[in-house]
Symmetry: D2
């Protein structure tokens, strides 16, 4: 997923008269978000934090510095009078892809920066946090400033998820197979109940974000779509079901696959989800909790769109569209999960529950929808606008958030997007069908 970011228009601020409950709450959320990032890095050594697993992933240290630089570049420089940047050279080091901001360390060489050290990056964070606190205390913040802080929070949350998926990518390639955290769960999960279906009527419905609260530009405009009657599975596809697909020759049957998918499977020799090994006694899987037997009850994860699509064809079903998913989620509460070791694995569905489960916070669910602009889409002004719309080609929409998505970051209209071959995120699937 691409990170939306903003270049603010101008630097005017004025001295502070009073504080408001809204500002206070925003400030508390900001500090809480900042703290969570450090918490996520806490189990890692400085050595763990410097290495880049692959050209698509970034080092932990880079994430920690980049999201800090974001506040410096787009908030503090503009809205805190007299702010002095921590180190002018960090802009080159930790800018991600702002052509307008200037030159930067090449993306595939982020892991070569042993300097500045992780310790210095922590000092940088403290320096910026202190300045943010001063800004909230001393400055009467404009709506633009507040919006950029909100954007910075969301931006940092996105990088928190990437930090976790990128560490998993790194640890999976290490011979010692380190665990990011120790699992607290000692017993295997109950098997989920049988897969059941919920039906939905067709008709014209409204989709997309209506405009209250924070959202990314790609979630709007809110608009109507014509939906046909469909049914949706009550839960995600499990590892056990995925093993049945493997054992039925799913990865060797060209007719189940899109042409580009089959070409990828053949070229890369895929035989199962990313991070899976076939071992004596069954499948093993590298996870944030270490190298473990695949849990049959948990939702399958680390699969590409190509694999999700092939599975659905094998099952005689299809993937839902992004609108079908959103319609089904209409009245469901957005469930958060407690942060902690067990947060870092998709949870099995509850065999006793009725209705839709696992819609939020387990795996990003691939949809059948190409990632395209909504009717009337207008990119936001400035760099923000540049960086969502430009990816609207050759990617597919995912919904619902994963076990690595921070609480408070996900919502019904959220449109994540990845290329159909990518699978280092916590990606899975839920089936749909026409009725």
């Amino acid at each position: 997923m691409s990170i939306s970011e903003a270049v603010p228009a101008g630097p005017q601020t004025q001295a502070k008269d009073q504080t408001t409950p809204e500002n206070d709450q925003l400030f508390r959320r900001l500090m809480e978000t900042r703290r969570v990032s450090l918490d996520l890095a806490a189990p890692l050594s400085d050595e763990d934090q410097v290495v880049q697993a692959n050209p698509d992933a970034s080092p932990t240290k880079w994430h920690l510095a980049h999201i800090t630089w974001f506040f410096e570049a787009f908030v503090l420089r503009s809205f805190l009078p007299g702010y002095r940047v921590y180190d002018e050279k960090f802009e080159y080091c930790f800018n991600s892809y702002y052509d307008t901001v200037g030159e930067r360390q090449p993306r595939d060489k982020r892991g070569l920066m042993t300097r500045p050290s992780a310790a210095e990056v922590r000092s940088y964070r403290a320096y910026v946090d202190e300045a943010l606190e001063r800004m909230f205390t001393d400055v009467d913040l404009s709506d633009e400033a507040l919006a950029l802080v909100e954007l910075g929070i969301n931006h940092e949350q996105q990088h928190q998820e990437l930090l976790l998926t990128d560490i998993l990518a790194l640890f999976s390639d290490e011979p010692l197979k380190p665990a990011y955290r120790e699992a607290k769960m000692g017993v295997a999960a109950d098997a989920p109940g049988e897969l059941t279906w919920t039906s939905f009527d067709g008709g014209i419905h409204e989709f997309g974000h209506g405009g209250d609260g924070f959202f990314y530009d790609n979630e709007g405009p809110r608009h109507e779509e014509l939906i046909r009657p469909f049914k949706l599975a009550n839960r995600c596809i499990t590892n056990k079901e995925w093993i049945a697909f493997i054992e039925d020759g799913g990865y060797e049957t060209s007719t189940l696959w899109l042409s580009d998918g089959w070409s990828r499977v053949s070229r890369k020799g895929w035989k199962g989800p990313l991070y899976w090994d076939e071992a004596e006694g069954g499948f093993m899987q590298m996870t944030l909790l270490g190298y473990r037997p695949v849990d049959p009850a948990a939702p399958v994860t680390h699969i590409s769109f190509f694999e999700a699509d092939a599975f659905a064809r094998w099952a005689g079903k299809r993937l839902p569209s992004e609108f079908e998913w959103e319609l089904a989620a209409e009245d469901l509460p957005v469930k958060g999960r407690t942060l902690g070791a067990d947060h870092l694995r998709p949870m099995p569905a509850d065999p006793k529950a009725n209705g839709l489960q696992q819609m939020y916070g387990d795996v990003w669910e691939w949809t059948a929808s190409a990632y395209l602009p909504y009717p009337g889409f207008k990119p936001a002004v400035g760099a923000v606008g540049e960086y969502n719309g430009k990816f609207m080609c050759n990617q597919f929409v995912l919904k619902g958030g994963s076990c690595a998505t921070p609480e408070g970051h996900i919502r019904k209209t959220y449109r994540n997007f990845f290329y159909p071959f990518q699978r280092w995120q916590f990606t899975g699937l839920r089936l749909a069908a026409d009725i």
Copy 2:
């Protein structure tokens, strides 16, 4: 575009009682189509016909033999009792991509087959044509047989277009820049009139093929879509307008491009449409009529989706969806153009005409629609079904047919599709906008 092809179910036929006008007409169309293929190859030497321009293109000789093999493999073997194949080895040589049929010459090595000779391929065609004639005379053809003949005609027409675009690809890389045919037009075309707009109301409309006559499976099912009010340009974008885009720095301005498009432009060093050179005195272009100055009045062609999309952004407009195009074409006649040298170039719009022009038969018009299945899409049974649906990923829909599309092959619901970076077909664009 991928070619739809079929493996027939079985070989039962029975002796002929009578002929019907429908069969007679089908037979005449078949022979006419077969003749056109040879006509298209007539300006070429045997040496021209053997060489493969690039891995995506095929030699003329291969096209001529492959479409002949199609009738042998899927029609004659099944429906003409006692038919003996011309040469058993040709199946390996001229099969395109039927995994179920067996091994075949690798696609990127089609140009290595100096044997069989072009002369022998012509004998092969005559042998098969004679057998087809015998079949129509002697056999009481089942509906399945007739449907496969119809499919074979459409298949051959698709390859006629590819034959032309592949020869252009070859000749463009030759230092002597041969002309495929001599142009008959001696004078430059009039400039088209100003670009004007036609407005369309929104609402629920039906799209896709309803089922009478021949069509590909990807054109159905006929279904409803919700359309928003829009307007469509009366004509395609001209070379003159494209030159304005170039001269305004279109190819150097990253913000106009999709991210994947910009990456392609940078990596490949694109500075204009395929086959264009900048020379003293203006732009030159390799065409089927030779190496000539770019005609400012003609529709721009040989552009990728990325370029079409960037142009539209530069112009403050957008590309139409495939449904908007189809709605606009609702009541327009499907215009054919006389085959001949001037058939082989897009024609300028008529400055005196009103309303939509150039909808059919000039350039394939890129739409904003990702090539995805229509709701309820079911692939056809057998190999036919395998080969349209499997490409429904990462490609975009094009409408309207080009100056190289054979008469009688195009229709309103026809969905051509290419990857967004491809541009060796006669591809252009027409603008749309919201109202």
Copy 3:
């Protein structure tokens, strides 16, 4: 091997007084060489002659035109007053690598030139031959002119060998596996006798060309080398011996290979010489005489230096140095073989003969000598000089000429050179050992 070529210094000539026997003989050799090139192309259709097998090979038509252009560019333009070039554009088409001469068709796109046609290239040859005849008749040729004619003859001979090896490369990739010529030999060859050894004393010996007659600059200067006592095998390694190497796991045993060789074997999946297939009943081989069972008695051919070196290590022997080979050939006559179908295959050693056999005209024998300049090497002046010395890096010397080397072209001091991974020439090996 790179082709040595020359740019002459100037264009002065004078009218002819008399002819000389030497000139007459040179002219006859020139015309004979020109005729042989056409003879070699005679079994091929025009379609065969246009296609390029791979980026290292050239089309027959290109060879025929290039060696003709050589006489036009470097002889006729300079020494035949009033000569008019056949077509100015041919310089671009048929120049090989003369930076000083100008731009040219890219090497890997020589096979895209369907124009000029093969028929026109034959006209071009006739035009140039007629002019060469006129030059010999009318002009009193300077030594420089005569030297360039001699060079042109040798240059054409080199391309005759390449023409054959390149056609083999092309036909080997064709599904119909055409034979370039029909073999005249109806019976399998006798097995060669046991491999025996000839011993040679050490000491200081002279090597390299002394300067009489035509030779390439890389064959000189003549100079002394210190040789240690050694012995040399009486014949080349046979296919039968090579099969023993294969069956003993030669291609799977890393310790037999140079590191770069092992890496090539692994990456390319080599399991035997180029053009070999393992079939039921034994190994098959694509040859100029068609697709045939491997002849156990014939010298192995189409092997790389890496393979030759690995075989020698497996056999507990080594490859000879280029000087050891030359010393052993000291008093041997340079044997020519009659041109014809059987010329096109390496001949088995004669079991009844004593002493060294197969030194000339069967296979190019890999030596252990890196291709480096002889002490005091001075590149020839002009383009000739540029084009032998610049390849003196990362290649190995081969001696003796192959069954595709034209009569009269090979000599004891001839240094052919190829990269250690190349094997589309008729390359084989002879063992040596210390004593």
Copy 4:
């Protein structure tokens, strides 16, 4: 350069009776060598030590662990009764290329091992050092054991040089351009005197190692070579002279280059030595002492064979053969240099000195000699033997050692070797000529 390593034959030892001065000295050298490795890593943070600059380079931590594992695998396990390996998994992590020993971390993924930590690697070193000390105290070491300790010392010295060149490669790609050490030299060096020549007679001379003391198998056998009279430059080519080559268009003149070299220059866009930038005011260079102006007086370094060869051609001279270099060094003492910051840069020649300078310890000097086996070369038995001979193809010999070569490691007969395109070592050149 490849590292020679050994697999010992067997594990027999016996209890110790007495110590010898030779053993004591060996033990002191061992401990000193072990200490130097840690000293070399001391200026680096743990983060610096984990990252791999590129696939050819290794992380510092890997070097430190690998040379430790060498003693564990080949010495302690065999000769210290009761020795227990530190961690069984380290064999996978820190084996370099011993196929016979087993599977290992892929070479290009050595930088992904954030675990074990640098601190744990230091513990591993202490554990092994303690065991080595115990072995020397308690065990009566066989000649084989002592030879393997000697080999381990030399092996560790080779990795010390690589550690330095690999850190330079890493730091050169970091935006903050860190200095490995601070330079002690505050003033620019004097310009060296004019380049002068020393002449040598030809004749038969002996070369290669005679067998006393430690040497690698590729240095033998000692044998005779025939040398022609030549002269050798008194010093290496300086940066100032190299700048003259650049400014004379050396990198743009194809005729100065070997063909493979020119192809590399063009493809990679080389415009000067590795680590050089052209800046306002002159050339800058990344060094172990930081990012600094190029010192005109110092020998040029970080050049490939291709560049050295092109320079020599430009200068109208040539590179010496490895034998010419060795002959010239015949009576010169092998000079060591004090370890320290200034050790890490090539030193300018002394303008007041006469005769050959800079033969040892400044830059590895490219020779014109392909890296091939000496006559009668027999690889050593076991893995040692496998790993020098197998690289004898496509590489060139370098002589003399560089400023990063540890004291005591270099000698007259030492044959270093690299591919002609490599330049991340401290490589330079000295001219030679015929007389």
